[in-house]
């Protein structure tokens, strides 16, 4: 949709200055598309990327006469999410209609839960990296969950016109395949007390939630495809270290559709800086929706909140109440996966990573992918090295996930195996990875195609070693005299002569053999 920012950038205050004087209060609303086979209220498929308007029926098109029926798989997912978020599960709750007109909403009301959510009053403990860069243990921050409720998604509009944007579009084309896909909206209570770490907490929360939902197997949680979407509410209040909790909240803004972990952090950070500038200027923050612009890293004003937002909620008369039995809920509790934090501690121990290494893995969002890579046969050390190295750098630079580049756990396990067998050395392995990233095939295919293979034939290596010793008699003498570290220069020459396709460790062995001091 909107990809280009409009208007002039707002004035902002330096972040450190802003958080020195103001206390940020956040509220995060995350919409998760469930990966159920069918929609929330009808039997249409939910496959992503299907041809337009081929996964629609009278119900999700809002045709006259059509009636909804609740998907039991969606209720089950909702309850499991609620339990995993340590929520209470309602013993009786209803759906309501949220009435407003919008062309991508077929009935012009959204069937949603309103004042009776299926799950409420929970929390999620999230870890943020320890302060400083010296690998201090992560800090645990508890985010209180207000509610998790069931609702349905809307259709998708494409705007047609000169600009390709919603403003100035001539007309729009609507595909209702997405309309009616089950959504769980997870709403936090106001998050206070994070101070200058608020942006990191926001990112860590969405990341932890994503990990949790993935572990539950209830959603694809692909932010770039919109199956996990975050709206970030933010307000500032004056800082008062003596009695911060008694200072009333400021006016909030809601930044919509912040669709990567990095953007969550950046958007919150930006809004903190912008709010501070507004307040410094003696102005009032306008309660409004704001749009995040990934390219420029700023937000722009959307629709102000107004009395047009009169949603006229009332209980959905076409659906009957949902009343999960205690036995059913307890049965679902037994299906919950190990909590991510606990799991991380277990995996760190299994893999033998240091705290610092584990922190890098977690920050790279690579826990699951390393687990899959180890399962595919890689060593834990090898798996970590590849996923948190080049791939993590790229992901971070592009605001994407490490798994987004076409490199799979099987690829990395294969690469790691080739290094372990001595087929590739480190620099060759990096070249192979580049080839895989460039879509040239599997590591074996890339290595074969590029002719990358360590020379195993000692005769060629021995020739190169002898040549290197002959070329640098003074260095050779030093080694003979016991300065073993001087062998490095000789190894360098050998590798140069071998065009890098040699096992440096073997070269070292041969050099030391030849230059060993007399017994």
């Amino acid at each position: 949709m909107t990809t280009t920012s409009t208007g002039t950038p707002a004035r902002v205050v330096d972040f450190d200055d802003a958080v020195a004087r103001f206390d940020p209060v956040m509220g995060l609303e995350v919409h998760v598309e469930l990966s159920t086979a069918t929609k929330m209220f009808c039997g249409c498929a939910t496959t992503f990327g299907a041809d337009p308007n081929t996964q629609v029926c009278p119900v999700c098109l809002g045709l006259p006469g059509a009636l909804p029926v609740v998907n039991e798989g969606a209720v089950e997912s909702a309850v499991r999410i609620g339990l995993a978020l340590n929520c209470r599960i309602a013993d009786w709750c209803r759906f309501a209609r949220k009435n407003y007109f919008y062309p991508d909403m077929p009935k012009n009301f959204q069937t949603s839960q309103y004042d009776e959510p299926i799950a409420f009053d929970g929390y999620l403990d999230v870890e943020i990296p320890g302060a400083g860069d010296s690998g201090e243990p992560p800090e645990v921050f508890r985010v209180e969950i207000e509610r998790a409720h069931m609702e349905e998604d809307t259709g998708k509009s494409t705007h047609v016109g000169t600009s390709g944007r919603i403003h100035g579009a001539d007309y729009s084309l609507v595909d209702y395949n997405r309309a009616g896909i089950p959504l769980i909206e997870i709403v936090t209570k106001p998050i206070t007390g994070a101070g200058e770490r608020a942006p990191e907490v926001a990112r860590a929360y969405v990341g932890a939630l994503r990990d949790l939902l993935r572990a539950l197997g209830v959603s694809d949680v692909r932010m770039e495809q919109g199956s996990l979407r975050c709206d970030a509410n933010l307000s500032l209040r004056p800082r008062d270290d003596a009695a911060q909790q008694s200072v009333p909240f400021g006016t909030r803004t809601e930044t919509k559709n912040v669709n990567s972990l990095r953007s969550v952090e950046r958007a919150v950070r930006y809004e903190i800086c912008r709010h501070a500038a507004v307040l410094d200027a003696g102005q009032a923050v306008v309660q409004e929706t704001r749009h995040w612009h990934e390219d420029t890293g700023i937000t722009t004003a959307g629709r102000p909140k107004s009395d047009a937002d009169d949603y006229r909620y009332f209980p959905e008369p076409d659906l009957v109440p949902v009343s999960p039995s205690a036995e059913w809920v307890e049965g679902l509790r037994a299906t919950l996966p190990e909590p991510p934090a606990q799991r991380r501690r277990r995996l760190q121990q299994d893999w033998g990573y240091s705290d610092l290494e584990m922190r890098d893995v977690v920050n790279a969002g690579a826990v699951e992918v390393i687990e899959d890579t180890v399962a595919a046969g890689a060593t834990p050390a090898g798996a970590r090295k590849w996923w948190t190295g080049e791939l993590a750098r790229r992901a971070n630079a592009e605001g994407r996930e490490v798994t987004d580049f076409g490199v799979t756990p099987a690829h990395v396990a294969e690469l790691d195996g080739m290094v372990g067998e001595g087929r590739l050395n480190d620099s060759m392995a990096r070249q192979v990875l580049e080839g895989v990233l460039a879509g040239e095939g599997t590591p074996t295919e890339v290595a074969d195609a590029r002719g990358l293979r360590m020379v195993r034939d000692d005769s060629a290596l021995e020739e190169a070693v002898d040549a290197a010793i002959a070329a640098s008699p003074d260095v050779a003498d030093k080694v003979r005299g016991g300065k073993v570290q001087a062998a490095g220069a000789l190894i360098g020459q050998v590798m140069k002569q071998m065009k890098g396709q040699a096992d440096a460790a073997r070269a070292r062995e041969l050099i030391l053999e030849r230059l060993s001091p007399p017994e």
């Binding site: 098109l61 045709l63 006469g65 009636l67 029926v69 009435n99 012009n108 001539d170 006229r312 009332f314």
Partner: protein
Amino acid sequence: MTETTTPAAGEELTRLTAAAMADRLTAGELTSEQLVHAHLDRIERLNPVLNAYLRVDAEGALATAREVDAARAGGEQLPRLAGVPVAVKDIACTEGLVTTAGSRMLAAWVPPYDATVVRRLREARMPILGKTNMDEFAMGSSTEHSAFGPTRNPWDLDRIPGGSGGGSSAAVAAYLAPLAIGSDTGGSIRQPAAVTGTVGAKPTYGGVSRYGVIALASSLDQIGPCARTVTDAALLHEVIGGHDPMDSTSIDAPVPPVLEAAGTRDLTGLRVGIVSELTGEGYQPDVQARFDEAVAQLREAGAEVVEVSCPHFRYALPAYYLILPSEASSNLARYDAMRYGLRVHPEGVDRPSAEQVMAASRDAGFGDEVKRRIILGTYALSAGYYEAYYGQAQKVRTLIARDFEAAFEQVDVLISPTAPTTAFRIGDKAEDPMAMYRNDIATIPANLAGVPGLSVPAGIAGDGLPVGVQLLAPATSDERMYAVGAALEARLAAQWGGSGSVLDRAPDVSALVDAFATTASSADREVTA
């Protein structure tokens, strides 16, 4: 037996009850094709004036009839009503056949699917003659609010046939169909039955699937049969009733044994309660007189009759006129000119926005009554008013349901006049919405509580127009009202003689139509709806 029938013989066929048609089809004395032709002929002659049907599907009905006849000739075991034609209120979606709900908004809309009730008619292999007229989106008590002109009452062409299902009731009363499907949100099956001398049943809420029936007020709407006898209504009820997984509010239990109950004659030991709030003041005196006579008949049939009070019924109308518009305002939001239906561009606006096109289309596509109720309902749900209006109405609804519970602890069925007056003249209440609303005073409580109701003819008033009485039973005990209705029908038939039908005493509608047609050229007969 021949496939062609003389006009007179065709007329005779249309006079049969649905049960008799079914029996003669089974016995091979009659073909479905003959039956359908007989009705199509009569529709062709009378419908241009009656306007009971908005659309006739001769081809579809004949195709079904021929299939049934062939199947029967081939010795196939068929459902009881196979081959008996039926009319469907234009509120139920019929795949491939325009479905308008009486609205300009949907004047050309062809549904891509069948309502469950329509699917059940097809499964029962009943030829569907066509779609019947109705007040727009079922909002009204007279069928004057149809975007396609009013339906005329076969008893008196200047009068309304009731509403919203006036097309179905007029079709059945004028022998344009032996059976019809109706929908009843506040009396739209029962009140038209009463003012046309026919039988109409609103089953227990959830007794018949609402899937594919264009919603007015979801928590009040119920689909039911229109017929000329209690047995015929029961036959159709058993075809269309029963659980549907596509409707979350559908009752997952067998259809109550209504057909068996329709054989009841003796009411000994049965307790009948007269609802004191639904008689007396506000009821036309000869409506009250016919009602009193019906009660006397029930006593003679062995029933014990007592008076019961339902004190909160006096708030039923106001509560209903909050709940219905609220739900309707939301149900009708989908008619926005984006996906289907009428699209109108606002005049004098260059490059109108979606919002402007929606608002212009809804202004052009909806009639006055629909707009009135949408505005009322939107208001009742809006911020600051919800508790005082919608919320309070839902509490009153609880009290009305409790009144029913208390009454049904004392008696087995309740009885009242179906409508306070006989059919009024077309145009009489057009400018006074509240007077129109008060017509539903006796039928609305059943919708609010979800209990079943049945209207059966009780005779003729001094104005020569028919009167109906209403029987109400506890939820899911629909058979009780059929039992009492059948016993009453049998006693009145014995008293009236002839075929026993009150319709015997209606004027000859063919003559009325002919007379109307010859004088209709003058503009003064044109009626503004």
